[in-house]
């Protein structure tokens, strides 16, 4: 929904009631609001209606292969980083029927899927995730055959961004230049302010639709102190990144070393479980399945998330091309950090850290790059 026009109105301040009013206003305009909620001891993205649905007073501790929710000492509503979910599940569903076929006297007919019935508002989408969204936009919409279902879901989206106040131990958006500040691509952006004993949100407007919603909810103009506090939040986040990734020459670094011994080394740890690709907000690989009703009268085609870590992914009549885990890990990281530039003009990594946190053995994309880079700097001994 954000368009080129950026309203000139200055930032506003809303309080907790204002945030509830925002949810109500979005609901009144036909949006189903999706936002962070606690499910199964993790913060996930799910439908919500009330401020009380948000994970108030919770934060997350993240490291390689580790994720744990902990209590905060305050009532922050957004005091955590990203969890196992990414927003891609809504625009590119993990399982999605593409069409159905029905037998007829003459042969068969095809039934297309209806347009989506819901319009979504994403509450709390962070800078790294907005970048991931933009990356998936290029994948699904930038080619010669735009993906219609993605386009239809994307078109009506209302985006309430969150200026990130709490990086995790696996975050590295600063290295990827995707955060922590969201500067465009949203309708509204919130910075949660907890200082001075008053819980409030600084609201930036990124589109006409955002401007219209803001006008409909109680707010006041932001003052200089509010702005300074909001800047301090982002500065603090930027200074507390859990990881760093040196991206200099990374495209060549990976493409030029397909036979590096590190691929073999990481393969001894990698389980090829595909967790990293499932939690990644930009991974877009998929497969299809065909099902036929037992009567043989109807059939349907379904698209499912797939992963370059599965053996079946590279199957070519007779066998899989990437039999070894080393080849599959190499494919994933080389695609993500290197060939993505050739294909879509940017990195495929936004530095959200999910692949590190959710790897059952704690393989760290930043560490793997560091290992390859540093091995090339070592002097070779004769």
């Amino acid at each position: 929904m954000p368009e080129g026009h950026v309203p000139t109105a200055g930032e506003a301040i809303i309080d907790r009631e204002g945030l509830q009013a925002l949810l109500d206003a979005l609901g009144a305009r036909g949006f189903s609001v999706i936002g962070p909620r606690i499910r199964d001891e993790a913060i996930v993205y799910a439908p919500l209606r009330n401020v009380a649905d948000l994970p108030e007073g919770w934060t997350d501790r993240q490291d390689g292969g580790r994720y744990r929710l902990e209590r905060r000492g305050d009532r922050a509503l957004f005091g955590y980083a990203v969890g196992p979910h990414s927003w891609k599940q809504f625009l590119f569903p993990p399982r999605q029927r593409l069409w159905q076929a029905r037998r007829t006297e003459a042969g068969f007919d095809l039934l297309e899927e209806p347009p989506p019935s819901e319009r979504w508002a994403f509450l709390g989408i962070r800078a790294c995730e907005l970048h991931a969204l933009a990356i998936q936009d290029r994948v699904f919409l930038g080619g010669s055959h735009p993906d219609r279902s993605y386009a239809e879901r994307r078109r009506d989206l209302f985006l309430v961004a969150l200026q990130c106040g709490e990086p995790s131990g696996t975050c590295f958006c600063v290295s990827m230049e995707t955060g922590p500040k969201a500067s465009s691509g949203f309708d509204l952006a919130l910075t949660e302010l907890l200082g001075d004993g008053s819980h409030r949100f600084l609201v930036e407007v990124g589109s006409r639709a955002g401007e219209e919603i803001l006008a409909a909810i109680p707010h006041r103009s932001a003052g200089e102190a509010d702005r300074r506090e909001a800047e301090a939040v982002l500065d603090s986040t930027a200074s507390r990144m859990g990881r760093t990734l040196d991206t200099r020459g990374i495209r060549e670094l990976l493409q030029d070393h397909p036979e590096h011994p590190r691929w073999e080394e990481v393969a001894t740890r990698c389980l090829a479980c595909a967790n990293c690709t499932m939690v990644c907000p930009t991974c877009f690989c998929s497969t299809v399945e065909d099902h036929t009703a037992l009567t043989g009268e109807s059939a349907e085609r379904t698209r499912l998330w797939d992963s370059c870590f599965s053996l079946d992914f590279s199957y070519l009549h007779g066998g899989s091309v990437r039999k070894e885990i080393r080849s599959r890990y190499r494919q994933w990281i080389t695609h993500k950090l290197s060939t993505w530039f050739d294909q879509f003009g940017s990195s495929g990594c936004v530095g959200c850290g999910r692949c590190i946190t959710w790897c059952p053995v704690g393989i760290d994309i930043t560490e793997e790059v560091r290992a390859i880079r540093s091995s090339l700097l070592e002097p070779t001994h004769a």
Partner: protein
């Protein structure tokens, strides 16, 4: 008005079926509604068999000349189902996709078509237009290798091609009994028996990847510049328009950037294992 859904095929009807060998047929397809979409030699379509699935198949004919022709070999569930289709049956078709053989670029020089097995089908779609505008090319040669004499495709047409004096046809098989009167040996070995001027030749190669690698090496050895050697590659693909991610080959998507690639662009990738 909704935009078209690129995943939804169009319905075509089988107009004719020609058996090429024990496991290979050529299907002639006509749209149930509308026209056959414009395509170029070397491109491919996704063919859907009801309830079974969808596979990429290169065109073996020309646009604007009768039905859409696809030559299919029964090797997997979908290709087996396609090979069982009979005239009047319905199937799903979407496309065309991918890069064509660069015929216009080859004009004015010699043209070498090197086919292995089913690879003759996509190259037939390059040979026919070249023969139709024969005067635009120098020498034209077709080198065709198959497993055995019984596996050779397009029998009648090949004898027509062999009888032309403006086309050199070299056919060779890997295995034969003494009853076979033709050549036994591999395709790359036939390159040295082919008349062409390497520095002004374009070579189009289609067949199993190993056969293409050996052929490219023989062409390089004969002096054909790597930028003028074109291979048609194959990988697993589901969408055919670069969103399913499966056919990635280095930076390329074979469905979008290929299947036809200039050798100089992919030679390094071809040498990598399990890419």
């Amino acid at each position: 008005m909704r935009s078209p859904d690129p995943f939804v095929p169009s319905l075509f009807r089988v107009d004719r079926v020609r058996r090429e060998s024990a496991d290979t047929v050529t299907l002639g397809l006509l749209p149930i509604q509308g026209e056959i979409p414009a395509f170029r030699s070397g491109q491919f379509f996704m063919l859907y068999a009801f309830g079974i699935g969808e596979i990429p198949v290169s065109v073996s004919g020309l646009w604007g000349q009768g039905p859409l022709l696809h030559t299919v070999r029964a090797v997997g569930p979908v290709s087996q189902a396609l090979c069982r289709l009979r005239p009047g049956d319905t199937l799903g078709v979407r496309g065309p996709y991918g890069s064509p053989w660069p015929l216009p670029q080859a004009e004015g020089g010699d043209l070498l078509l090197i086919a292995g097995g089913l690879g003759l089908a996509p190259l037939r779609s390059a040979l026919l237009p070249a023969l139709a505008e024969r005067e635009r090319y120098g020498r034209i040669a077709l080198l065709y290798g198959a497993r055995s004499p019984a596996d050779l495709l397009f029998g009648e047409e090949r004898s027509d091609w062999s009888s032309r004096d403006d086309l050199q046809v070299e056919v060779t098989v890997d295995h034969a009994s003494p009853a076979w009167r033709g050549s036994v040996g591999v395709v790359p070995a036939r390159i040295s028996h082919t008349r062409f001027a390497p520095e002004r030749t374009h070579a189009f190669v289609c067949g199993p990847e190993v056969m293409m690698r050996y052929s490219a090496a023989a062409l390089l050895g004969a002096g054909v510049p790597p930028a003028r050697i074109f291979l048609s590659l194959e990988r697993n693909m589901k969408c055919a328009f670069a969103v399913c991610g499966r056919c990635q080959f280095g930076s390329t998507f074979i469905c979008r950037d290929g299947p036809v690639f200039a050798y100089d662009r992919i030679s390094r990738l071809l040498s990598l294992r399990e890419l």
